[in-house]
């Protein structure tokens, strides 16, 4: 067979399957005009055509080449993913809002606590106070102003809305006591001697009107032979403070000052 020419396997005695196969290939490759060959050629042309077309479609298309079901699935997946992400987004936004409002609440609580602290400190008399008010100076040479008169002044001032009061340099707080002693009037153990000053922080007009009212404390005091001046001021400074009680108990007064009178009150 001429098909075996040039093949380097002379050692094989019988025609090998390889040689017959090659021979068959060659004979098949020999062009013949038979109808079958032409048809096969046409089919192969169609195959090559379709192959190339499909390759191009695959290369150029992202979503174009996908079948309808795949597209639907892809769209579904994307929709699901979008929903998941949207839910996550709203969760996170809610968390952010929660944190922000929590911060606001904390600030609010802090502010109100500070306000409360300020109010309580003023009330407890542990901090100096400043504000509009009146300055009442009482000159009492005869010593006729006793506990009752002084308490009347204090109570009238409180009625008129005085927030902070000091008498003769002593801050008046909830536990303050005004007592008569042999030496005169004492406020929280401090003797109040003429002339003494009563400072009150509050509405100046109201406070002075309360003092000045006919038949009021001014008249009472002057009936006792005291002279009283009332000065409304835009700024009254009450620098007297009391020590803050610790653990609900008042601290012992330093220096062993007599406080028996206060206990009596």
């Amino acid at each position: 067979m001429s098909a075996s020419d040039g093949l380097p396997d002379p050692a094989v005695p019988a025609p090998s399957p390889r040689r017959t196969a090659l021979a068959r290939l060659r004979s098949a490759l020999r062009p013949r005009g038979s109808r079958g060959q032409v048809l096969a050629g046409v089919l192969c042309a169609a195959l090559g055509f379709a192959l190339v077309v499909q390759l191009q479609v695959t290369q150029e298309s992202g979503l174009d080449g996908l079948r309808e079901a795949d597209l639907v699935r892809t769209a579904d997946e994307l929709g699901d993913q979008r929903q998941r992400l949207a839910a996550e987004l709203s969760d996170l936004e809610e968390t952010r809002r929660g944190l922000e409002s929590e911060g606001d609440l904390r600030e609010e609580a802090l502010r109100s606590a500070e306000q409360r602290q300020e109010a309580l400190e003023l009330l407890a008399g542990t901090v100096p106070a400043v504000g509009p008010g009146v300055r009442v100076t009482v000159t009492d040479p005869s010593g006729g102003v006793g506990r009752v008169r002084l308490l009347s002044v204090i109570n009238e001032l409180r009625d008129a809305g005085a927030e902070v009061i000091s008498v003769g340099g002593v801050r008046l707080v909830a536990s303050s006591a005004v007592v008569d002693t042999a030496d005169g009037v004492q406020v929280d153990g401090e003797p109040v001697t003429s002339p003494f000053t009563v400072l009150a922080i509050g509405d100046p007009a109201r406070l002075s009107a309360t003092i000045d009212i006919p038949g009021g404390v001014l008249d009472l005091l002057e009936n006792q032979g005291a002279s009283v001046t009332v000065e409304p001021r835009e700024e009254i400074r009450v620098t007297a403070v009391v020590d803050a009680p610790s653990a609900g108990l008042l601290e012992a007064e330093p220096g062993g000052e007599p406080d028996a009178g206060a206990d009596d009150g």
């Binding site: 390889r18 196969a21 068959r24 290939l25 098949a28 048809l39 096969a40 089919l43 090559g48 079948r67």
Partner: protein, 110 residues
């Protein structure tokens, strides 16, 4: 020879014409191509076995293509198109590999 010529002509035609694939053919074209490849490998093997027959080749080529496309179409209608086309590709791939192995044994004796 004519078959090889036809293949070359087809490739050139495809490259030159750059046709757009009709939408209704798009899902079936890849499967049909694989089925045709299977038929071509089968034909080549038959040539080497010495049992090649033009009529058998033409019929197997066409039936392969048609059956593959039909199976995928049926799968699409049943809602299992992608799975079924995967199955068809796997089966055809196995056949192509076994045919290629037979061809290799014929041509290289190994």
């Amino acid at each position: 020879m004519i078959a090889v010529l036809g293949l070359v002509v087809g490739v050139v035609l495809g490259l030159v014409l750059q046709p757009t694939v009709p939408v209704f053919v798009q899902p079936y074209l890849p499967i049909a191509v694989v089925a045709a490849l299977d038929a071509v490998f089968g034909g080549l093997r038959a040539v080497l076995d010495g049992v090649f027959d033009d009529r058998v080749f033409v019929v197997s080529f066409l039936s392969n293509v048609v059956v593959a496309a039909l199976v995928v179409y049926l799968g699409d209608q049943l809602g299992v198109g992608s799975q079924l086309s995967t199955g068809v590709v796997v089966v055809l791939g196995i056949r192509i590999f076994s045919n290629a192995a037979a061809i290799r044994r014929h041509l290289f004796g190994a």
